[in-house]
Structures are given as structure tokens and as C-alpha cells.
């Protein structure tokens, strides 16, 4: 069949004969998701914003505390027994928005652009895509979160040195609290990505995420106090707070329990995302 070889399109490697053995593996899907994350400009911008938010708001809180203590002004209840850690983690509340939103974008953005069709054509078993997104983004958000927490602590502590808020990294629980903040941000990122896959809409995912992290805790105050005490600590944001708080007030979960509860929420979001991903047409 010499005619066939002659008619071969230039550049298309040998057809059915001697084809290279390609194969989809879990590692390769991870590699692909990793590449997907870093080849978009929005990733760099949003991660940068998240890091800046953590550092900036932590610093602002530290400077505010410093100026109140040195001028002897009346101390806000917020600042009454502030530590370098608690001042640093002021920024986490803002950082979580950027990191959570990027998680939603990373997943739901595939649906809004149509990229999901290319993705699922390459990985038609689908679930590896979700796990890889969760792992890749979870790790990235964790690393950024830890960097922000430790960086923020160094800045805040430098600002408040010589005040009662001063602490050192070697003080009891400081490293645990800062790592806890990183873990919280990592898990919020994973929840964002899972919501993106579950809702398939950037706007929807961001709305649910913001509502869960910021609005629901506020709405809870409308409920009878016995409900508040029973439900409150288990909300994702409050469970997260117990994960990175240095001192646990009454009514807060312990750090370990908080981590487990937050992990539970993450698994729930991932399960919802997995169900929709596998069961519904893309």
C-alpha cells in the first residue's frame, strides 16, 4: 500500500502502525492540573492578592495595637488580650476570601469557558480530575497560607515588640497556630474548588463560599442562644478559627476537633462535587 505512505499528512506521526503507548495515570492528571493552575494569569494575581491581604491586614492590626498601647488609648475589646499571633491572623479572614475564590475559579472556570469538555475528553473517568484539582490547589493554598501566616507573624511581632503582645516563634502553640492558619486556608481552597465543581458556576460558587464563611455565622445570632452554642462551633469558619486560635475560649472546639470538623466539611463538599461530576452530563 505504497499510496498510503505517500499521502501521509506531514507532521502527523505514524497512524495505526507503531503508535507510541500513551496512558492516563493519576500522576499525569495531577501534573496536568498543576500546569493548568500556573498557566493562567488570574492564579498569580489572586494568590498575590491573598498573600498581600494576609500580610497587610495583619500589619495594620499590629500597628493599630501598637499605637493604642503607646498612647495609652482605651483598648478595643478586640485588642484587649491581643498577641502577635492573634494580630497576624487578623489577615487570615481576608486572605481566605482570595484563596477560596481562586479555588472556585480554578474549578468552575473550566465550565464557564468550555475547557471542561477538553478536560473530560482527555480524562473521561472524571474523578481523577476532581481529586487532582483538590490536591494541587489544596497544597498551593496551604503553602501560600503558611507563608502568609509566618511572614505576617514576623512583621506583626516586629511591630509590637516591647508590648505585652510580643511573642516568639518558640512560645507554646505559636507554630501550631500559624500552621493551623495555613491548614485552614488550604482546606478553604479545597472547599472552593469542590464548590466550583458542584455548582459549575463561578458566581454561584463564590456566593455560596462567601455566604458560608461570612454570612452564616452572622445569621446564626438570630437563632436562640442554645442553638447558637450547639451549632456555632461547628460552622466551617468557627471550626477553622479554633484550628488557628492560640487560646481557646469556652464554647470553642479544641484545635484537633476543629481540624476534624473542617475536614468533614471539606469531604462533604468534595463528595457533592464528585457526585455531580460523575452523574451529570458535562
Amino acid at each position: 500500500m505504497s499510496t498510503i505512505t505517500q499521502a501521509r499528512t506531514p507532521g502527523v506521526a505514524a497512524g495505526p502502525v507503531a503508535r507510541p503507548a500513551y496512558k492516563v495515570t493519576g500522576r499525569r492528571v495531577l501534573r496536568s492540573e498543576w500546569a493548568k493552575l500556573w498557566t493562567l494569569r488570574s492564579t498569580w494575581i489572586t494568590l498575590g492578592l491573598g498573600l498581600v491581604a494576609i500580610l497587610a491586614f495583619g500589619s495594620i492590626a499590629a500597628f493599630r495595637y501598637k499605637s493604642l498601647t503607646t498612647t495609652g488609648g482605651r483598648m478595643d475589646p478586640d485588642f484587649a488580650d491581643a498577641t502577635a499571633v492573634s494580630l497576624t491572623l487578623f489577615g487570615v479572614r481576608f486572605g481566605q476570601l482570595a484563596l477560596g475564590v481562586l479555588g472556585v475559579l480554578f474549578a468552575a472556570g473550566e465550565y464557564s469557558t468550555g475547557m471542561i469538555r477538553s478536560t473530560l475528553a482527555a480524562v473521561p473517568r472524571r474523578l481523577p480530575v476532581l481529586w487532582s484539582k483538590a490536591v494541587v490547589y489544596g497544597v498551593v493554598a496551604f503553602v501560600v497560607g503558611v507563608a502568609g501566616a509566618f511572614g505576617g507573624f514576623l512583621i506583626a511581632d516586629a511591630v509590637v515588640s516591647g508590648t505585652p503582645a510580643h511573642m516568639s516563634l518558640s512560645d507554646d502553640g505559636v507554630v501550631r497556630a500559624l500552621l493551623g492558619a495555613g491548614l485552614y486556608l488550604g482546606l478553604v481552597g479545597v472547599i472552593g474548588a469542590a464548590l466550583g465543581v458542584l455548582l459549575r458556576s463561578v458566581a454561584g460558587g463564590i456566593s455560596v463560599l462567601v455566604a458560608t464563611l461570612l454570612l452564616v455565622p452572622g445569621l446564626l445570632s438570630l437563632l436562640p442562644s442554645s442553638w447558637q452554642n450547639n451549632i456555632g462551633p461547628y460552622l466551617p469558619s468557627n471550626a477553622g478559627e479554633s484550628l488557628y486560635a492560640l487560646h481557646h475560649s469556652t464554647g470553642m472546639l479544641s484545635a484537633g476537633t476543629g481540624a476534624l470538623v473542617l475536614l468533614g466539611w471539606t469531604v462533604l463538599a468534595l463528595a457533592g462535587g464528585a457526585y455531580r461530576l460523575v452523574r451529570k452530563d458535562a
Binding site: 498510503i4 506521526a13 500513551y22 499525569r28 498557566t39 482527555a122
Partner: protein, 308 residues
């Protein structure tokens, strides 16, 4: 090789694909024809598992698409809907897909070259024209060196140069022994590249045929003949496989099964004068429209009955 068996897809009340049975054979271009909304795109989505069939099945080389260890090596698909993140560069888009299968960077570079995207490979896909976007989609489809190439309306909105490029590409891919399955709502376009045709309307299979047979069925090889003595001409032309029709009192006859040349020679032999000898030109477009119009009306009635 793609095999569909009683393939059905319903979206709520609407049946987009209705018990389709067909085979797409290797080594040739199979055209997938049907008016807009006939279920062509849905069928293609079912083939690569983007949508799940309501009932029936479709396999690629004997297995469901998702069951293959390297799906992109089985079917390379260009879907009608854009499937590219506009914020990623052409090169990055291809690399992201290549990573999932362990396809080397070299192959990505080759596909960029094949599709002529070298100068824009580092530009973000969102800035691409329709034609460039289509080329990028084709580069992605060919990335896995697929045994089957499936393209949904690939020439839609392309300029003549792009259309020609696609046409040559399809012919080249088929010549390499690949299965090529290409959909279109334009009969003329498909007829230029496809040997085999699968025609659908309202999700139903209307014809599984070749371009040649379709034209013949539509009366493509009929010759119009006018003569003062139609009765004698009928006798002169009569023979096996020859069909002659004409209205009483009319000088015109319609002959099928003989070429204009054969008719002319036979008439001269019998001394019958001809006033007209015209091979009837049936356009493929007409043949296609006849086929789909009839079927749509017919199936419209059936659907109503079935729903009641």
C-alpha cells in the same frame, strides 16, 4: 471504528438522539449529515462520554470511550462548542492536555506546526480568530495520535483557505488509515470529502449510504428526452434496468438507467428524431433536502402518536 447500538439520548421531554444504529468504518471519511438540531453534536458528545446515553450504547474500537487507557489516542474530537480556556496560550492549552497522557512536548510542537499556529502559539487563545481557534481545536484533537478523528462542523465560519485546509487534512488522515467522522449540515461540503454518509433528522437515522447511492436514489442519473414519437422511443430504449416515465400526450420522457449518449445512439439507430437530450442535474443538496424533509414530516407524525 465507532459502533452505535440503539443509541438514545433524552433531555426531559425532548429526544435528541433516537435509537441510532450505525457504524463508522476505519480508513475512510464518513460524513455525518443532518439539519441543525438533528442530534449530530449530541451523538458526538455521547461517543466521547461527555453526555451519558439514556439507553443503548456506543463503543469506540469495541469499548466505551472512558474504558480506554489512553482515550485521546482512540478518538481525537473537535467539538462545535469552544472547549478552550481563553486565558491560556495555545501552547499551554496543548501541554495541559498532553500531560494527562504523557504525550511529549515534541508532539505538541509538531501539532502546532501542522496546524500552522507557530506565530501565535505563545498568545492567549482568547485573542484568536475563529479560524485560529479551530486550528487549535484540531491540534488538540490530533495530539494523541488518534485512530479516530471526529470533527463537529469543522468548516463552520472558516474562510475559503481554511475550508480547503480542513478538506485536505481530512483526506490525508483517512489515507493514513484513520477513521474520520465529520459532521456537517452542508451536503455539498461533506460530499467533497466523504465516501460514506450517515444522515440523521430529528435524532433518527435517515440513511446509511454512500454519496454515489444517495445521488442515484434521488434520481441523479435521469435523462430528460423530448421527441415527436415517444411511443417508438420507449420501445427503442426498453431493456433490463431501464426505467422510462412520461405523461400521456407529452413529448417528454424521463429515462433512468441509460446515459444521454446511449439514448442518443439508440434513437439514431431507430430513426427517432430527438428535440432534447438533457442529463438531469440533481444537486446533492436537493437529494439531502428531499431525504430529510420527507423523514421529518413522517417522523413528526409518529412522534405525536407515540407521545399520546
Amino acid at each position: 471504528m465507532i459502533e452505535a447500538r440503539q443509541l438514545t439520548k433524552r433531555y426531559g421531554e425532548k429526544t435528541a438522539v433516537d435509537r441510532l444504529d450505525f457504524e463508522v468504518k476505519p480508513g475512510m471519511v464518513t460524513g455525518f449529515l443532518g439539519p441543525n438540531g438533528a442530534g449530530k453534536s449530541t451523538t458526538m458528545r455521547l461517543i466521547i462520554g461527555l453526555d451519558a446515553a439514556t439507553s443503548g450504547s456506543v463503543t469506540v474500537n469495541g469499548r466505551r470511550y472512558a474504558r480506554h487507557p489512553a482515550p485521546l489516542q482512540e478518538v481525537g474530537a473537535l467539538l462545535e462548542a469552544r472547549s478552550i480556556h481563553p486565558g491560556r496560550t495555545a501552547f499551554d492549552h496543548l501541554m495541559v492536555l498532553a500531560h494527562t497522557h504523557g504525550i511529549p512536548r515534541r508532539r505538541v510542537a509538531e501539532m502546532i506546526e501542522l496546524t500552522g499556529l507557530q506565530s501565535v502559539a505563545r498568545k492567549r487563545a482568547g485573542s484568536f480568530s475563529l479560524g485560529m481557534g479551530q486550528r487549535l481545536g484540531i491540534a488538540a484533537a490530533l495530539l494523541g495520535d488518534p485512530a479516530t478523528v471526529m470533527l463537529d462542523e469543522p468548516v463552520n465560519g472558516l474562510d475559503p483557505e481554511g475550508v480547503l485546509w480542513i478538506r485536505n487534512l481530512l483526506a490525508g488522515l483517512a489515507a493514513e488509515g484513520r477513521t474520520v467522522f465529520v459532521s456537517s449540515h452542508l451536503m455539498a461540503e461533506v460530499a467533497l470529502v466523504a465516501e460514506h454518509l450517515i444522515v440523521v433528522g430529528r435524532g433518527r437515522l435517515l440513511a446509511d449510504t454512500t454519496v454515489h447511492d444517495l445521488v442515484r436514489q434521488a434520481g441523479g442519473d435521469t435523462v430528460a428526452v423530448a421527441t415527436a414519437d415517444p411511443a417508438r422511443l420507449r420501445v427503442a430504449l426498453a431493456g433490463p434496468g431501464v426505467e422510462i416515465t412520461g405523461r400521456a400526450g407529452s413529448e417528454e420522457l424521463w429515462v433512468s438507467g441509460l446515459s444521454a449518449r446511449q439514448i442518443g445512439l439508440a434513437a439514431a439507430e431507430h430513426g427517432v428524431a430527438l428535440f432534447e437530450l438533457t442529463p438531469k442535474q440533481v444537486s446533492l443538496e436537493e437529494a439531502f433536502m428531499d431525504l430529510t424533509r420527507d423523514a421529518v414530516e413522517y417522523h413528526g407524525g409518529v412522534t405525536k402518536g407515540a407521545a399520546a
